[in-house]
Symmetry: C2
Subunit: 195 residues, 2 copies
C-alpha cells in the first residue's frame, strides 16, 4: 500500500510501474495494473498520468535519463576532445552493459517498451548527439579535432559505434572480443578526427 510506504508521488508510481514491467511484462504495464500494485484506485494514478501512454512514456523517459545524465558530465572532465569522446563512448557502453547484465528481464521489458515510444526515444538520441556535438565543437575550436560539421561528425561517431551501445545488439556484448572490436572501431574514428 502506498500509505504504508509514504505518500504517493510520481516517483513511487514510476518505481511501481517499473516493477510491474519487470515482473509481468509489457502487456501488464497499464494504469490499472500499477494502481492495483500500489493498492490505490486507478483514478488516483490517472491524476498523475492521464493515460497508459503517458505513464509508459514517463517510465521510458526516466530509464533513458539514467543513461544520458552521467554522460552529460563527460564534457566537464579534463582532457582533450578525443579523450572525452573515448570516455563518453566507454561510459555509454558500460551503462548499457550493466543494465543488461544486472537485470536482463527489466532490460528486455524496456526494449519492447521503446518500440511504442518512438518520440521519447528519438528525443533521447538527439540529447546524446547534442552531447557529442558540444565535445566536438570545443575540440574543433581548440584544434584537437579536424575542421568539419560537428553535427555530422557526431552522427558518424554515434552510428559507427551502435554495435556497442544500441540495445538490439545486447547479445554481442557478451562476446569475449567485443572490447577489442570497439577499440578497432575507435582507432579508425580517432584517426579520422585528428587534424
Amino acid at each position: 500500500m502506498a500509505d504504508a510506504e509514504g505518500p504517493l508521488t510520481t516517483e513511487t508510481i514510476l518505481d511501481t510501474a517499473e516493477q510491474v514491467l519487470r515482473r509481468f511484462g509489457l502487456s501488464k504495464a497499464t494504469v490499472v495494473d500499477v494502481a492495483r500494485a500500489l493498492d490505490v484506485s486507478h483514478g488516483t494514478v490517472y491524476r498523475y498520468f492521464p493515460s497508459k501512454t503517458a505513464l509508459r512514456a514517463a517510465v521510458t523517459q526516466r530509464w533513458l535519463h539514467r543513461v544520458s545524465a552521467p554522460l552529460a558530465e563527460v564534457k566537464n572532465t579534463s582532457g582533450t576532445a578525443p579523450e572525452k569522446l573515448h570516455l563518453w563512448l566507454t561510459t555509454l557502453m558500460q551503462i548499457k552493459r550493466s543494465k543488461v547484465l544486472d537485470d536482463p528481464e527489466l532490460f528486455h521489458a524496456y526494449q519492447s517498451l521503446f518500440g511504442e515510444s518512438k518520440a521519447v526515444l528519438s528525443e533521447h538520441v538527439s540529447e546524446l548527439l547534442d552531447q557529442l556535438t558540444v565535445i566536438l565543437e570545443e575540440g574543433i575550436q581548440k584544434g584537437e579535432i579536424r575542421q568539419g560539421d560537428p553535427t555530422g561528425l557526431a552522427e558518424g561517431i554515434f552510428y559507427a559505434t551502435s554495435r556497442f551501445h544500441h540495445p538490439i545488439n545486447s547479445q554481442e556484448w557478451l562476446s569475449p572480443t567485443i572490447d577489442r572490436e570497439f577499440e578497432q572501431v575507435w582507432d579508425l574514428i580517432v584517426t579520422g578526427l585528428k587534424t
Copy 2:
C-alpha cells in the same frame, strides 16, 4: 515428387529445405519434414545430409554464400581502394536489404537458423573480413590507404558499419535517414583511412 521434377540432387534438397523453412519455420526444417516435402524417404535425404544439423548448416552456408559471392568480385573492379571499399559496403548493404524486403519471412527464418550455426556464421564473417583485408592491403601498397595493420582496419570498418549490414538491425534499414547515416559513418572512416 522428386522424380517428377528430375533427379534428387543436393541443390534440390536445399531448395526444398529453404521452402520448408520459409513456410513452416525453423522447428519444421528437419530431415523428416524435408523428405516429406520431396515425397522421398528420409533415408534418401540422410544419404545426402547425415543429420538435421548438417542439413541446416548446408542451407545456412548456401544463403551466406549468396551474400559473399558478389562481394568477392569487388576487388577486381577498377578504382582506388577507398572506392572499392565504398562499393563493397554499399553492395553488402544492398544485398541484405533486398533479402529482407523481397522475402521477409525467409529472412527472419534464416535469422533464427543463424543462432544455431555459430561456426558457419563465423566462417562467413572471416570470409568477408578477408575480402576487406585484400582491398586494404592493395590500397596500402599503392599508397591510397595509410600505413596500418590491414586486418585490424578491416575489422574496424566491418564493425563500424554493422548497423547497416548486421541482420539484427534490419528494422533500421527501413528508416528514411539510413543512407545519410551510412554516408556520415563512411565519411568518418574514409578520412581515417587516407594517407
